[in-house]
């Protein structure tokens, strides 16, 4: 008697309700506060930039997957999320083609060409953002189409630029809560922390990377005679620490590896900020460390529970 209609699959037979798509949706939810703040400050500029990048990301993934005969996986939300991340990394006056190219590079090159979600080595959004820094001077036509024709209301110097030039600064508290200037994600460290708390609570990210990264920035800037708190609340540090460096695919899987990874990013960020020209130091630092993830995982590999501790018990 063969009951062919019985389900027969290998164990385990139970499954935790947990999917990649669900996690991606949670990350988007965690980015809602910062998106809202950026829309509050930048109005239609922020909205336009976000929609532009998300749509470009979805289209890019669709085209790449189709062209290569793969299953289209837009529903896992990872393309849309990458688009949102790219938008948040740019300032509201970013020209249309620049934002689109960055998104295309993020999703098409850094993710799909590397083998799709899970196989990419570099954080896609950061890759797209940094690539633009190099490409923009070579491709002047990128600036042809501005996001909005009258832009004077939002072109203020960013707090970070003021910091570099020793200008009058808004108070650290203002910078922490909400202050316009710079990329969409730089408007409110507080909003980012709210989202980060949600991600920690939901178990999508662990504390190791953000804590070691922020701690190393704090300590190093302090030693070098800077105002550490001011550093932490400016630029892309908060977004980088909680949302970019913690990206599952491109960060170490071991706890020790995570701690070293975060620490090293912090050191690089300080070096970039204090001694090197490019303003996107956080993006550079994370991308550099992305490349070291396999090495970090190798040196921090833990021993199996069954590994003989000292002298093996002789039987």
């Amino acid at each position: 008697m063969k009951q062919s209609a019985l389900i027969v699959t290998p164990p385990p037979h139970l499954k935790l309700e947990r999917t990649v798509g669900g996690a991606m949706r949670d990350v988007m939810l965690a980015l809602l506060p910062i998106s809202a703040v950026s829309v509050y400050f930048y109005h239609a500029f922020a909205l336009k930039l976000i929609s532009l990048c998300v749509v470009t990301a979805l289209a890019t993934e669709y085209v790449f997957r189709r062209a290569r005969g793969q299953r289209v996986t837009l529903s896992d939300g990872s393309a849309a999320l990458t688009g949102l991340f790219v938008a948040l990394l740019f300032s509201p006056t970013t020209p249309v083609l620049t934002a689109m190219l960055a998104t295309f590079l993020a999703v098409g090159v850094a993710k799909e060409l590397m083998g799709g979600l899970g196989r990419n080595r570099l954080n896609p959004a950061l890759f797209g953002r940094v690539a633009i820094i190099f490409l923009a001077p070579l491709l002047p036509f990128l600036n042809q189409i501005p996001l909005y024709w009258s832009v004077d209301t939002v072109t203020r110097a960013t707090p970070l630029a003021k910091l570099a030039q020793g200008w009058d600064m808004p108070s650290t508290w203002e910078l922490f809560v909400a202050f316009p200037g710079g990329a969409l994600s730089e408007t409110s460290p507080l909003a980012l922390l709210v989202g980060a708390a949600f991600l920690l609570y939901r178990g999508h990210i662990r504390w190791h990377i953000p804590v070691s990264m922020l701690a190393s920035i704090f300590v190093l800037t302090f030693i070098l005679g800077q105002n550490p708190v001011q550093h932490l609340v400016t630029g892309g540090i908060m977004l980088g620490a909680f949302f970019m460096a913690t990206d599952w695919v491109t960060s170490p899987i071991t706890k020790q590896g995570k701690l070293i990874f975060g620490f090293a990013i912090g050191v690089l960020v300080v070096i970039f900020r204090l001694f090197l020209p490019p303003p996107e130091g956080v993006a550079f630092s994370i991308l550099i460390m992305n490349a070291f993830v396999p090495l970090l995982e190798r040196v921090t590999r833990r021993a199996s529970f069954s590994e003989p501790v000292s002298a093996p018990t002789t039987g």
């Binding site: 699959t9 385990p12 003989p308």
Partner: protein, 445 residues
């Protein structure tokens, strides 16, 4: 820890693993009942790890309940007994719940069963450890919770073993047969432990019980209160707490390196069901002819904990539990717990010595049959793996057929507990990958 103030969930544990929904309230207050005896039993000659038995009877022979019908000359093996008085109608290959077909003795019989043929008739108090061990060997006892390793081999150690651990963790969801046994047969269990202690010369017995079984902890604590040499250890409710190595580590703090037999660590772990069977074998001379199993599932009408004859086919058990075996389309029938048990395709498979339960899981409860996707390196499997492995690596290497590398990632240490596959957001069948690779590697060498 004081059993009186202990709260559910508290207790000692190990590093790794996780809490999994228990589903135990379906059956954990249903007293043990005896299930009807079928007209036909299928007794596999291989119900243990080790060498299979040779049949001692021929087709057509009349057998008496408890009569030895299969045995082996090999050291690592365990005899099997007739679990029904009647006639041997076939000796042929039949599907075993572990999947492959093995030689089975099929017995048919109706009506008067008579007393079982006892394996030992001595007064246990006057038996020497050697005689006790012989009775355990003759009764065909094996580990009833897991790998079905012959108990006689396990306790027949010349090394000094100071500690006996009774495994009452019962960490698999749904299963409650060990729980009920500890509640309802506490005195017999303690006697069984005394016998095992005499066999191995242990000075101390720990009874490890997950603290979702507070009544069992209280009863056994109060019964062992006056004894220096027996102690109940409440354990955290965490899967796979009942795995031998983690139990040893949790209770004694001793490390369990690969390849070391537990005797070499000075402790022996026995499941509470096995310990009860030791009591029955030695005190009543009863061979291993029946066991307690949990029959459960959210839609099973007469779910509960039943004493069933070994060799009872699954469809008989399902009918007794009020389930029509022909109406199970879209369900899973599992022998064992839902984390490590095997889904059956043929409902003729019999209950064997290490069958802990027969579960009927409707499709909404079991893993969705969605295609798995690439590892997104979320790291949860690494955090939860109780053996501190890198399940994601094993699964990726297996996809590429990189078996050599899988050995470098300690594939042989994987206990196939299923935690990694349970948590994976990409629905990767990691345990399946590991099992497949182990088979391939075995065949290569």
């Amino acid at each position: 820890m004081d059993a009186g103030t202990l709260r559910e969930g508290e207790g000692r544990s190990f590093v790794g693993g996780m809490h999994i929904p228990e589903y135990k309230s379906l059956t954990n207050d249903v007293p043990i009942r005896r299930m009807a005896i079928p007209d036909r039993v299928i007794v596999p000659l291989m119900q243990h790890s080790g060498a299979p038995c040779e049949p001692l009877v021929q087709v057509g022979a009349t057998v008496q309940l408890g009569q030895k019908i299969g045995d082996s000359e090999e050291f690592i093996s365990a005899p099997v007994h007739a679990t029904l008085s009647g006639t041997v109608v076939a000796i042929e290959r039949r599907t075993h719940p572990a999947g492959e077909a093995v030689e089975c003795v099929v017995i048919e019989g109706k009506g008067e069963q008579g007393e079982f043929v006892p394996v030992a008739k001595n007064n246990p108090d006057q038996m020497s450890p050697e005689e006790l061990k012989d009775a355990i060997k003759e009764a065909g006892l094996v580990g009833m919770g897991g790998a079905a390793f012959p108990t006689y081999v396990n306790i027949n150690t010349r090394q000094p073993v100071d500690t006996l651990i009774l495994n009452g963790a019962e960490c698999e969801p749904f299963l409650t047969c060990d729980h009920r046994l500890m509640v309802e047969r506490a005195d017999e269990l303690i006697t069984g432990a005394d016998i095992l202690m005499r066999c191995i010369g242990a000075k101390k017995t720990f009874i490890g019980i997950e603290s979702n079984k507070l009544d069992a902890i209280r009863i056994l604590s109060s019964k062992t209160k006056a004894r220096e040499d027996m102690e109940v250890v409440p354990l955290a409710v965490k899967y796979p707490q009942g795995y031998k190595s983690y139990l040893i580590k949790t209770i004694t703090g001793r490390d369990v390196p690969r390849g070391a037999r537990s005797a070499a660590l000075g402790c022996i772990v026995r499941n509470v069901g096995t310990t009860f069977a030791v009591y029955e074998a030695v005190v009543h001379g009863k061979p291993f002819i029946e066991r307690i199993i949990t029959v459960s599932g959210p839609e099973v009408p007469n779910r509960g904990n039943y004493i069933v004859r070994l060799g009872t086919p699954a469809d008989f058990i399902l009918r007794e539990a009020g389930v029509d075996p022909n109406q199970l389309a879209g369900n899973k029938v599992i022998f064992g717990g839902p984390m490590t048990g095997l889904a059956q395709s043929d409902l003729n498979v019999p209950v064997v010595k290490n069958t802990t339960g027969v579960l009927v899981l409707p499709s909404e409860l079991v893993r969705e049959q969605v295609p798995y996707t690439a590892c997104v390196r979320c790291g949860v499997c690494v955090e939860r793996c109780p053996n501190w492995l890198y399940p994601h690596q094993l699964s990726i290497l297996s996809e590429y057929g990189m078996y050599e590398e899988m050995q470098q990632w300690d594939i042989w240490d994987c206990i196939e507990c299923g935690v990694c596959a349970y948590v994976c957001p990409s629905q990767r069948p990691i345990v399946h990958f590991v099992k497949r690779a182990k088979t391939v590697i075995d065949n290569m060498s």
